[in-house]
């Protein structure tokens, strides 16, 4: 009786082990297409989180999900070649040049509102993905420079074109000149 019970238990255990192995093996072979949550999270961490949507997806997380599903890794202009290099390393893919049809990689800029011209329409506040613009209806708005990702998304909605994208002004030996071009 005990022998039979032992045999049955052993068979069940072996079967379970075999199934487990199959699942693991399947996941391993299928590669990127079956990467689950943690992989998306790791890819997302490499992306610059500007939430600018230049890649054609609604934000960094959707693009990370798309990459996990096989999308090209060269669609992120804010990240530039550095992000491509890190993605290539993470996913063990060959490096590729940035797809400039989505935009050029530019040095970091921040939005600056020309405050006397602001009419207080709140449209830029609604467009900002990181809540970096403060203001109220019919009152002047301003940008929290430290939180601005430089995504450009507030520039188009502005009905009076009072938002400029400017290079980050920094302290130290700086001589800001007017560029006559």
């Amino acid at each position: 009786m005990i022998n039979i019970l032992g045999a049955v238990l052993l068979t069940v255990a072996l079967l379970l082990g075999f199934l487990w192995c199959m699942v693991r093996l399947h996941g391993g072979i299928a590669g990127r297409s079956t990467l689950a949550g943690p992989a998306v999270e790791r890819i997302n961490k490499v992306l610059p989180q500007t939430q600018c949507g230049q890649c054609g997806y609604a934000g960094c997380l959707p693009y990370a999900q798309a990459i996990a599903a096989g999308e090209n890794i060269n669609r992120c202009p804010p990240g530039g070649s550095q992000t491509i290099r890190r993605l290539a390393k993470l996913l063990d893919l060959p490096e590729m040049p940035l797809d400039v049809s989505h935009g050029w990689h530019l040095p970091k800029r921040v939005a600056v509102i020309r405050e006397p011209e602001c009419i207080g329409c709140t449209k830029c506040i609604q467009a900002c993905p990181v809540d970096a613009i403060v203001g109220a209806p019919k009152l002047m708005h301003t940008v929290i420079t430290a939180d601005c990702t430089g995504c450009d998304l507030c520039v188009d909605p502005c009905p009076v074109d009072c938002i400029d994208m400017l290079p980050l002004a920094v302290q130290g030996l700086s001589t800001i000149r007017v560029v006559n071009t």
Binding site: C128, V130, T175
Partner: protein, 597 residues
């Protein structure tokens, strides 16, 4: 190994001691021994056969175009102030310093701007995995391209700088410092730190002019000291005046005999001339042992002053300032001739060149132009390095321009590479022989760093001081397994800096998630408010009031024609719809929450 150790011992301790006892000139002040170091074959004589050849000259004509990256220094990019198609004169400002630690950029010769766009540039260097000796060319660099017209014209209407009219001794210090800033000078020794920032340091006791060019093959500074010793010494006095240093020391390696003689006679000439600044202590010459890497900034400071800047400290924090001889000469030219930094002396050498020589080339000259001039033999080339064999970077594209920081162009053959053991064959495993630790000039444990870097253990690498590694390559040169150790360190350092950069993006991510959550909450709250309103109406209908009255008066809608029952059922249906919508939204929000967690 034992032979290296013996020669190191003699060079480091015995020779300086005996020479000081004998009272040899240049050895009179005490020097301190550098930890570690190696004595590689110098290979310097080949490129010192001729004098420095200027550009443009009959021998070395102008290249057809110049490529000038906006960032040739540490710090932010300069901002272009010219347009494509515009004609620029020699010395004209084409990109202005903008932001933190940025420097100006000037047109090295006259011509038309053909483009301001993304060009290959040998900056932002980082080795690629699997190709550790190669630098990855980063196409992000914006560069200004000038098509030269061959006339080399200076703007005829350019007014004379006040510094050209009045001798520099009579100008104010701030004016001198501003002139250095305007001239767009950054450290010419290799790191490219903006010189104007260094000159604004205060409480400097000792100024060291670095003439200890210790890396094999490179002779640019040595040639400069032989031919322009007067300008270097004068430039040193200018720097000394600006920073107010008590002592000014020119440190030269003992084996550069002709350069030592030239500097000595220049100093003597300065002393004998009735100088307006006679009150200041004179420039002093100190000889240092010819050990690699005694020419490193912190290494030379330690040898000459005995002061060791701590980890993370700048030399100016301990009252010492170090400039290379090339920078001193550039400052001299900027102050006395108001000439911006538009050319530099660079060494063209290596066995793949038939005529190794030092040239004073314009910044932005394509490397291919210089190689062709020096008799380039592509069949002998193993690797083209910008910089020396130990610290240089491999360049694949010969159209890469010469930068302000490029002090040497080494067209290395297999034999050149072998001489410093920087072989391209796959390296063998670390056998823990511990040859590397005693040669490290920063007293690190190279093999510990190697394992930390190889397995990307960032904490361990930082704890073991990888950020203090000066990437001199002494450890790699003595490694019997020929491990390109420095390449691993560079890779690891880049990764550590990347990790540090992630702070900003994770904050943005958190802000974005909050924003999304707030938006979802907003939608639910709006539905909630609608639901409450409808329920209020329902209650008022049940109490027998005519709900349509006020509404009908306001909007003129045909509500009054409906019976109370009709209205009631419509409202109930609306309530049900809103409830369903709200439930759906809530469940969606829950899913989002789960997904983000």
């Amino acid at each position: 190994m034992s032979r290296i150790s013996r020669s190191l011992l003699i060079k480091k301790y015995i020779k300086p001691f005996l020479f000081r006892l004998a009272g040899k000139p240049g050895w009179l002040s005490p020097i301190y021994a550098l930890p570690g170091g190696i004595v590689p074959a110098p290979n310097k004589q080949v490129s010192l056969q001729h004098k420095i050849i200027g550009m443009p000259s009959s021998q070395l004509p102008l290249p057809s175009q110049l490529i000038l990256p906006l960032k040739q220094h540490q710090g932010d990019d300069a901002v272009p102030v010219v347009r494509p198609g515009q004609y620029v004169y020699k010395r004209q400002l084409i990109a202005a310093a903008h932001g933190n630690g940025s420097v100006n950029l000037h047109a090295p010769t006259s011509g038309f701007i053909t483009a301001i766009d993304f060009q290959l540039a040998a900056v932002n260097i980082r080795p690629q995995p699997g190709r550790p000796w190669h630098q990855s060319i980063d196409p992000r660099q914006t560069a200004i391209v000038i098509k030269t017209d061959g006339n080399d014209l200076t703007d005829p209407e350019l007014p004379l700088s006040p510094l050209e009219v009045t001798p520099w001794q009579q100008r104010h210090i701030d004016e001198l410092r501003q002139a250095v800033f305007e001239a767009g000078i950054c450290g010419l020794g290799g790191a490219g730190f903006p010189t104007a920032i260094k000159l604004s340091a205060s409480a400097i006791k000792t100024l060291i002019i670095n003439g200890a060019e210790c890396e094999p093959y490179i002779t640019a500074d040595e040639a400069l000291m032989r031919e322009y010793a007067d300008e270097i010494v004068e430039g040193s006095r200018i720097i000394q005046t600006i920073v107010g240093a008590q002592d000014c020391v020119i440190g030269i390696e003992e084996d550069k005999h002709e350069a030592i003689k030239a500097i000595q006679s220049a100093i003597a000439g300065l002393e004998s001339a009735n100088h307006p600044l006679g009150g200041l202590p004179v420039v002093k010459l100190v000889l240092v042992p010819a050990i690699y890497p005694s020419g490193g900034e912190k290494q030379l400071i330690r040898i000459i002053t005995g002061i060791q800047p701590m980890s993370g400290q700048r030399p100016s924090d301990v009252g010492v300032l170090c400039h290379s001889v090339a920078t001193a000469r550039a400052i001299f030219k900027a102050i006395t001739d108001a000439e911006p930094l538009i050319s530099r002396v660079t060494t063209l050498t290596g066995s793949a060149l038939r005529n190794p020589v030092n040239v004073e080339a314009l910044i932005g000259t394509p490397l291919s132009h210089l190689l062709q001039f020096a008799g380039f033999d592509p069949s002998a080339l193993e690797r083209l390095l910008v910089g020396g064999p130990l610290m240089g970077y491999v360049v694949d594209d010969f159209e890469t321009p010469l930068l302000k920081t490029s002090n040497c162009l080494l067209a290395a053959s297999q034999q050149d590479i072998q001489s410093v053991k920087a072989s391209s064959v796959p390296h063998r495993d670390c056998i823990r022989c511990d040859f590397c630790a005693p040669v490290c000039p920063v007293k690190l444990q190279p093999q510990t760093l190697y394992f930390a870097s190889r397995h990307q253990r960032h904490d361990s690498a930082v704890q073991n001081g990888i950020l203090d590694c000066i990437e001199c390559g002494a450890c790699a040169a003595v490694c019997p397994s020929q491990i390109p150790l420095v390449a691993y360190y560079r890779d690891e350092k880049a990764l550590i800096h990347e990790e540090a950069d992630c702070g900003e993006s994770s904050r943005w991510q958190a802000l974005f998630e909050k924003h999304q959550q707030r938006q979802a909450d907003n939608v639910v709250a709006v539905q909630q408010r609608k639901l409450e309103k409808l329920q209020d109406k329902l209650v008022s209908i049940a109490e027998g009031e005519n709900p349509g009255k006020e509404a009908a008066v306001e909007s003129g809608s045909p509500v009054t024609h409906k019976s109370a029952e009709q209205i009631k059922s419509e409202i109930e249906a609306a309530v049900a719809r809103t409830r369903a919508r709200k439930a759906e939204l809530l469940s969606k929000a829950d899913i989002n929450k789960d997904g983000s967690q």
